[in-house]
């Protein structure tokens, strides 16, 4: 991690650590973490459960305070919940009492945006994720994949420079997941925002990212950062590409070395 913070870095994470209080005293969950992310970059953070990747995402969003170190986003130090972001969680967190469109418009209402312009954009976003015709559907009338699409639209309504996603496709079936990966890649290319994407799927991370940050468990540390040099736009068939397999293999080997993955015949 010899990255030197420079103005070209949109996010700088500098010697960040996080400890939680427990009955046995402070437990170190994370750190130290050093990571710099360029503006418009798509970075995935991949690691096993309990490696603190969600904690890292909470720290970047300002939803948690770091125990040590500091985080800057767009030159501003993060010390309170940041509102210059869009967030997508594993659970879609749609408000059941609002229709798909109203759920997206919530973002505009709370930020006191121009409602007419916001509604136009909300409809455009719904169209982009293939949900035209479902504007007035309530969440319970939508499938899991459709619900998560609505929550992505909600996160994007105010054109945030940073989109933070915490295992957003983790609860979806494999086919829906593939489709949403394609949709997300397209939206990212059209909008050019910076994306921090938390996942535990190696192939999802490689497929989507410019860089993949591989984390080790307890306490979470950055084990390795891989540049994913694959052409864009990427199609699903890229997963059969030898370079794609090589990246996946490399990450798998790291997890094997860390003892996160074990194969019975390991010598």
């Amino acid at each position: 991690m010899l990255d030197i913070p420079s103005p070209s870095h949109f996010i700088t994470i500098n010697r960040v650590s996080k400890s939680f209080a427990s009955r046995k005293g402070a437990v170190r969950a994370l750190g130290d973490i050093d990571l710099n992310i360029r503006s418009g970059e798509f970075v995935s953070i991949v690691g096993p459960s309990g490696c603190g990747k969600s904690t890292l995402m909470m720290l970047v969003s300002g939803l948690l305070k770091a125990s040590g170190g500091d985080i800057h986003v767009d030159g501003k130090r993060i010390d309170k919940p940041s509102s210059d972001i869009g967030i997508v969680f594993q659970r879609d967190v749609l408000l059941e009492w609002r229709t798909a469109l109203e759920n997206i418009m919530l973002q505009a209402e709370i930020r006191k945006m121009d409602l007419a312009a916001a509604e136009k954009r909300a409809r455009h976003l719904l169209d982009m994720v293939g949900l035209t015709g479902f504007e007035d559907s309530y969440p319970h009338e939508l499938s899991g994949g459709m619900r998560q699409r609505v929550s992505i639209c909600r996160a994007l309504l105010h054109k945030p420079p940073l989109l933070v996603m915490d295992e957003p496709f983790g609860a979806l079936d494999a086919l829906t997941r593939d489709q949403l990966q394609l949709d997300l890649a397209r939206i990212w290319q059209e909008n050019g925002m910076t994306v921090v994407f938390i996942t535990h799927s190696i192939s999802e991370a490689v497929f989507l990212s410019d860089r993949v940050v591989v984390m080790s468990p307890r306490p979470g540390r950055i084990e390795q950062v891989l540049e994913i040099d694959l052409p864009r736009p990427r199609r699903l068939s890229i997963r059969d590409n030898t370079r794609f397999s090589a990246y996946s293999q490399e990450i798998t080997q790291i997890f094997k070395k860390l003892g996160v993955l074990r194969e019975g015949d390991d010598a």
Partner: protein, 269 residues
């Protein structure tokens, strides 16, 4: 079914399968008719078991008595119920927002539910006399617990992610309350109010039993001591209908306020 299907003659069974007989109403009619027949055949004295027709007659003879006293009981029920809401919902909000208040008060509220509120009625009557105040207090006490507890449960249903989402939007505490926490809590609040509506009727009658000069509870007591079971039944039935209407009104308000919730539940049925 598309519009072209309309020209095809419907099978004879089609209309019948759509028709839902009012099963509960039929059961009720059978029950009342059975009661009438048995009471007449066995020739039981009216002070043991009056016939339904005798009950209707008793009501018809003194209908203004039931109306006036029903009005008194209704005032007690509604006043106590609204007092419970006025105190209960703000208290639940404070409990939901303050961990200290939650820890200091909530366990006591949950624990004190085991106190039979009816047993406190004589104490309150001794303290407040025989007017409306002790009755309203007892109704409020009965309604208070389900309203507070269900509201607290409702407020606590706001997930950490939902609150994180609100922060990421830069929502103020007031916006978070009105747009996230309160709507999330409403279904549970309504469940509490429905429960409270049933308990409030019980509270009013118990208070009137202990000491009153008017109200349906008073009528039931007086009719009982005069062996006028027909009048007693008339008062009980009138009271039950009032209670049902009260419960239905809250259910109606719920369906109007939370159409999204009603449809979720009907999906689950």
């Amino acid at each position: 079914m598309t519009s072209t299907d309309m020209s095809v003659p419907r099978p004879a069974g089609f209309g019948i399968s759509q028709f839902q007989p009012p099963y509960a109403a039929i059961t009720l009619v059978v029950f009342i008719v059975g009661w009438e027949v048995i009471a007449r055949l066995t020739n039981l004295p009216t002070y043991l078991l009056p016939t339904p027709t005798a009950i209707v007659e008793a009501f018809y003879e003194n209908w203004n008595l039931y109306l006036v006293n029903g009005g008194v009981t209704l005032i007690e029920i509604l006043s106590g119920f609204f007092v419970a809401i006025l105190i209960g919902i703000p208290l639940a909000t404070v409990i939901a927002y303050s961990r200290t208040v939650d820890k200091a008060i909530y366990p006591l509220i949950v624990g004190s539910q085991t106190i039979p509120k009816a047993a406190i009625a004589p104490l309150l009557l001794a303290a407040f006399g025989y007017g409306l105040a002790p009755k309203i207090t007892i109704v409020a006490l009965m309604s208070f617990f389900p309203i507070v507890i269900n509201s607290v449960v409702g407020f606590k249903m706001a997930s950490p992610e939902m609150l994180h989402l609100a922060s990421s939007m830069g929502a103020t505490p007031l916006q978070t309350f009105w747009r996230f926490r309160l709507p999330q809590a409403l279904p549970s609040m309504f469940a509490g109010m429905k429960l409270a509506s049933v308990l409030s009727v019980i509270g009013a009658i118990v208070a009137e039993f202990v000491g009153a000069q008017s109200g349906l509870g008073y009528i039931i007591m007086v009719a009982g001591s005069n062996f006028r079971m027909d009048q007693q039944f008339a008062a009980i039935i009138f009271l039950s209908i009032m209670g049902m209407i009260f419960f239905w009104v809250i259910g109606f308000a719920e369906r109007r306020a939370l159409p999204w919730h009603a449809s979720i539940r009907s999906d689950a049925d």
